[in-house]
Symmetry: C2
């Protein structure tokens, strides 16, 4: 028996594994709780200031990044928030003149969705305000802490991409 | 004019503010992207291994933490993921014998929802597997990185709580 194994300050393998399990779960729950609070704040403000929803904002943000247009399928894949119905939202935004469906240049069976000039103008106005909210919501961290978090998330994202590819 | 203001290595106030704005937004987008990947992985696995959904799992997890029962209103407030309809999910789980509605002890107009013994047993089985998935998904970080993240999220959560209370 080694001296280490008898030292009550050194946890045995099983309790160490247990601790690491709980650590990951506790981390994920705290993460989710922060995510929910941030999303709720953004949802409330989008509703009160722009009469819009987070899935609508998200969909317009994806289109803004892709001026050449996106198919419904590409849009679905790119959305960052859940709970939105891509077809339903596109229908609404089209009725309001903010997006337009056009025949897809290469796939006859598909449509390509784009922002209209009015949609682009409205999105830019929302995006500026949205960015200010995000700055405020993350103001609990110093620029150094934000930079460290950004780096650490890159490591996690790579790990998740590897996991996804072996599923 | 100070020597500092002329030094091209020192950004002026406006560009520094711009950078910090973009930093917060880039951080939030990377965060959302990681959250979506983790949630998607958990959703897929809950569906294939347990034939259940993330909102159902989430609702059962809240009930497991509150054996005394929760009202629908309390449940709605506690759910960590969006996109679930509390009444609809409770109806389904009740039909499957996993939860039960009972008259609320103090509020005559309310019901209190609890896990049944079968519900508790099923949840415990899912929770063990779910925890192993979370460990695997966060395995891109060392225990030290996870601990640092856990601490840093606490700082953010406090900031968000302060923001919420002044809204």
């Amino acid at each position: 028996m080694s001296a280490l194994a008898d030292d009550p300050g050194v946890p045995d393998l099983e309790s160490r594994v247990q601790d690491e399990h709980h650590q990951a779960l506790k981390l994920w729950l705290r993460w989710l709780s922060c995510t929910t609070r941030i999303e709720d704040a953004i949802r409330k403000r989008l509703a009160s200031e722009f009469g819009t929803t987070l899935p609508r904002f998200d969909l317009m943000a994806q289109l803004e990044r892709h001026p050449e247009g996106l198919t419904m399928r590409e849009l679905s894949k790119r959305l960052m928030v859940t709970g939105g119905n891509v077809t339903g939202i596109t229908d609404q935004l089209e009725a309001e003149g903010l997006v337009v469906r056009a025949p897809h240049p290469t796939d006859r069976r598909a449509f390509s969705v784009r922002l209209t000039p009015a949609g682009r103008k409205f999105f830019k106005r929302m995006a500026t305000t949205h960015e200010a909210w995000v700055v405020e919501l993350f103001a609990g961290w110093t620029p150094q802490q934000k930079a460290a978090m950004h780096e650490q998330l890159a490591v996690l994202k790579q790990h998740l991409a590897r996991q996804g590819s072996t599923e």
